[in-house]
Symmetry: C3
Subunit: 157 residues, 3 copies
């Protein structure tokens, strides 16, 4: 498994992840994680302080799926979509079939009436399992640049 | 023609396309399509409903060039520019010298007085001809996330 | 040194540059340039007019470091961060261990209170030195799409 193949596979995983969220195929989202896993959305300040709980958290595919069900059923929020763009993807290290990968994002939010706004910016800090035919996330920590976002966050980032 | 060469060529075509639009070299824009071609800008809702006509449409290089001439001559709108950023580019399939490629975009609009705003977000659904020395679009469908955009759209996306 | 290796190295340099700025490790920013170098932030209109001085300028690592010191010490502005996303990176030519590379960017600005806005868009016009173990910038010209930005610009782009 050479460096280039890992880069391409990581790029594909991150592209598929973004597409899954932005195209509202949320039921497929948990399949991109291994079992158990760690998914955490946290503000920069709390992440820098070493806190391990954030505004969204899951430790298994079941917990990820619970999040999807609550979005589908509860309808507590005005319908909207995201559109992600991703900054340069950087493979920081590879060892024992695990890649540490950093990237960053800007996400626009599109409301049902078409109103579009800059919604969130931040970093993805990933640990990715390279052992299977398809790469999956062991851990995806979403570090938000802003602290202001919490109450608006329903769909995963 | 291997997988990597196709990825790099597709990346170059999409990069050149964006540069052509954003740097206002619109006269070169039709050269990025084969003859005949299909270029369509359509809202997500209309695309999902299977409609084949959108807010901008062309079936040949001549029609693309007409669009450029009308922008240059009519001056019906306040001068502005775009700046695109592209999300992960995904080659979905390759067969018979045609690649199906999906990507997505966020576009900022810069008015002549410098005012900058988030203008459009959406997806590119491309069929790309790989048979020539330079890749070209057989089809580029621009699916807009928002329905609100129509009357503001003059320059192609 | 083949085409692919250059593409990957250029991608890594641009990714590291963005990460250095956005994660506020500005003291490492000058190390990404050779000595002497040229760093220039200029508006599109002034760049098109052939002007060689812009809203930010440096001709050596020492001048880049002076910029960092003034940010650290003067505190003349309300604390904020950037978040960059980069459009397709295009290697335009390679000769004599120098690559000419164009890319473009959208930058969001995040204020200390969390308020996030679209801050700047434009192009990077780079000349990159490929001769060392790590690629470095011989020249990075940042061409801003808007003329409105000057007084707000403190952190390098």
């Amino acid at each position: 498994m050479d460096d280039l193949a890992i880069r391409l596979g990581v790029h594909d995983l991150i592209g598929a992840y973004v597409d899954c969220i932005d195209e509202d195929r949320l039921e497929s989202w948990p399949d991109m994680f291994v079992e158990p896993c760690r998914y955490l959305v946290i503000s920069r300040a709390n992440h820098a302080a070493g806190l391990r709980q954030g505004v969204m958290y899951a430790a298994s595919r079941g917990m990820l799926l619970d999040r999807v069900f609550s979005i589908r059923k509860a309808n507590l929020f005005e319908p909207h979509r995201y559109r992600h763009v991703i900054g340069p993807i950087r493979v920081k290290s590879v060892a024992d079939n695990v890649a540490v990968v950093h990237s960053h994002f800007i996400v626009a939010r599109i409301m049902q009436d078409g109103a579009t706004s800059l919604f969130a910016t931040g970093r993805y800090l990933d640990r990715i399992d390279l052992s299977g035919p398809t790469y999956r996330f062991l851990e995806r920590i979403v570090v938000l640049d802003s602290d202001k976002i919490d109450t608006l966050l329903a769909i995963p980032l």
